[in-house]
């Protein structure tokens, strides 16, 4: 009798446990999956309703369904272009093989395929450009920020310049950068397109500042005690920077880098439109100039892709920050 009651108690207990576990699980999924899904659905609904009521000179403003259609077309176009490219090279190879068969000493050439850049190619170009610009900005901004953060006098010298250039729009820089690149980058066999460099430098000029400012703040606000430890140990400047300054300032440096990358990605689209760098900015501009009834849908698809890529870039930086940061308790978002 006792045993039976014990067993029934035990099973009751475990049932309770699973029920409460299930509740927790449902609660968790609700929070992490369902609620965002609801948000997206409501947004799509509102979008469709609004789109139905807006008629432009290029036809109706595209709703979610039209944009979906255009996105699929963009992918199909990309695949078609790749097939054409493959076929082009295959033809060349055959021709060259024939030529060599006739005359083994003949010089054969492989001509590069010069087809239109597809949407996917343009995404790749944009990513490469922003990466290059961001890299230049980081290489300048972090050392500059560390120097300014360490020395009050250097900071006072540099601060007015930082504050002046920080609010300048990329569109204002672009003509200057274009002319400077054209004047200085003269090469018979250029590794980079001029438009690529112009866009990348514009991105660098605009996304420099958040990293500089945040690095300065991070370096200037190192715990006094830690600086005193360094003084007692008589650490040299290089060791001081490596062992004390950089680890201390890493959270702030990363905050700056994340802001910089977000700024850079935003600036890039504007820069590409004007510099005609074959990336997403040029895609949007070309579609706008093209003005077909599909254009708005294709632009909207590009807008969504830009947004998603921005989101992914930020998530990547966040992951990197979490990996590098020593403070595992800090809540990063």
């Amino acid at each position: 009798m006792k045993a039976i009651s014990a067993i029934s108690k035990a099973t009751q207990g475990s049932e309770l446990l699973t029920v409460s576990n299930l509740c927790l699980l449902i609660n968790k999924t609700l929070k992490t999956l369902t609620l965002p899904a609801v948000g997206i659905l409501v947004f799509l609904l509102l979008w469709q309703l609004m789109a139905n009521n807006i008629i432009t000179s290029l036809g109706q403003f595209p709703g979610p369904s039209q944009v979906w259609e255009q996105s699929k077309t963009l992918v199909v176009e990309h695949q078609r272009e790749r097939k054409k490219e493959a076929a082009f090279y295959e033809r060349q190879e055959k021709r060259n093989a024939k030529k060599l068969e006739k005359n083994p000493d003949a010089t054969v050439k492989i001509r590069a395929y010069t087809g239109k850049a597809t949407f996917v190619d343009q995404i790749a170009t944009s990513l490469l450009t922003v990466a290059f610009g961001f890299m230049i900005a980081t290489l300048v901004a972090v050392p500059l920020g560390i120097i300014c953060g360490l020395s009050e006098s250097v900071y006072r010298c540099v601060n007015p310049i930082i504050q002046t250039f920080k609010p300048v729009s990329p569109l204002a820089w672009l003509p200057l950068v274009t002319m400077v690149v054209s004047a200085l980058y003269v090469s018979n066999d250029p590794i980079f397109e001029k438009a690529f460099l112009t866009s990348a430098f514009t991105v660098a000029l605009c996304c420099l500042w958040p990293t500089v400012v945040n690095t300065i703040v991070g370096v200037a606000s190192i715990d006094r005690d830690l600086i005193n430890v360094s003084r007692v140990l008589q650490l040299g400047t290089a060791t001081h920077i490596r062992k004390i300054v950089i680890p201390s300032a890493i959270p702030m440096i990363f905050t700056g880098l994340r802001l910089s990358l977000a700024t850079g990605w935003m600036v890039l689209i504007a820069a590409e439109m004007l510099a005609q760098n074959p990336g997403l900015g040029k895609f949007i501009w070309d579609e706008f100039q093209n003005g077909s009834s599909n254009s708005l849908g294709r632009i909207m698809a590009a807008v969504l892709v830009i947004g998603v890529i921005g989101f992914i870039l930020d998530s990547l930086m966040l992951t990197l920050q979490k990996r590098v940061s020593w403070d595992k308790q800090a809540i990063l978002r």
């Binding site: 005690d225 830690l226 430890v229 003084r231 140990l233 004390i244 020593w326 403070d327 308790q329």
Partner: protein
Amino acid sequence: MKKNYLEISQVGIEFATEGEPFRALQNVNLAIAKGEFISLIGHSGCGKSTVLNIVAGLYEATEGGVILEGREVDEPGPDRAVVFQNHALLPWLTVYQNVELAVKCVFKKSKSKTEIRDWVEHNLSLVHMDHALHKLPAELSGGMKQRVGIARCLAMQPKMLLMDEPFGALDALTRAHLQDSLMEIQQQLGNTVIMITHDVDEAVLLSDRIVMMTNGPAASIGEVLRIDLPRPRDRVILADDSAFNNYRQQVLRFLYEKQKNPATKKIQAA
């Protein structure tokens, strides 16, 4: 035993403020013998930490100076190790790495790699922290962090060990444990120590001499009390000891009768 291992002579310091410069210390004179344990005691704001920072070389005295083993102190250095109140461990380094950084700074040329490792581990075992070599400071309790802070200083084999309220941020039990550890280590190594404290019992228990400071501004040394209690000292036995209690009373009398807390003085005046 050389009487003047460390000599603080005619030290005074002024801090620049927006108005008139603030004079924190005036005419501080003190000679410390090698192996002596000195406590600095006084009310908050009387400049105890300032004295310590001048000895450490972190502050520069406006007048007077400090001579350690015949050499003038003019900059901070590893021969005067400082134990900070809030441990000041580098939070991104493990316990081992924190001590290793200090050891490498001092013994880079004179010790081999294995010697450095052994020395780091030896010092951490002195403070009973050899079980947590690879933990980060954030994973340790306050008392443990302070132990590592002490180990870091011991490992530098400094001429002077300067402790700035080392146990001030700890609860009473942890503090007692650390005081016992410190006495045990002091017995073994015979370091020359200056320790700042607010705690009268701690001062009497640990010190060879207690240096009592007058209230600021322009604070100076009020009285020096020699504690002639035999070592090793046991806190439980001493609690009933008449000599111990007599010393305690002398310090308390200085602090609460001769040098009333400046804060309470203001309240009475109001």
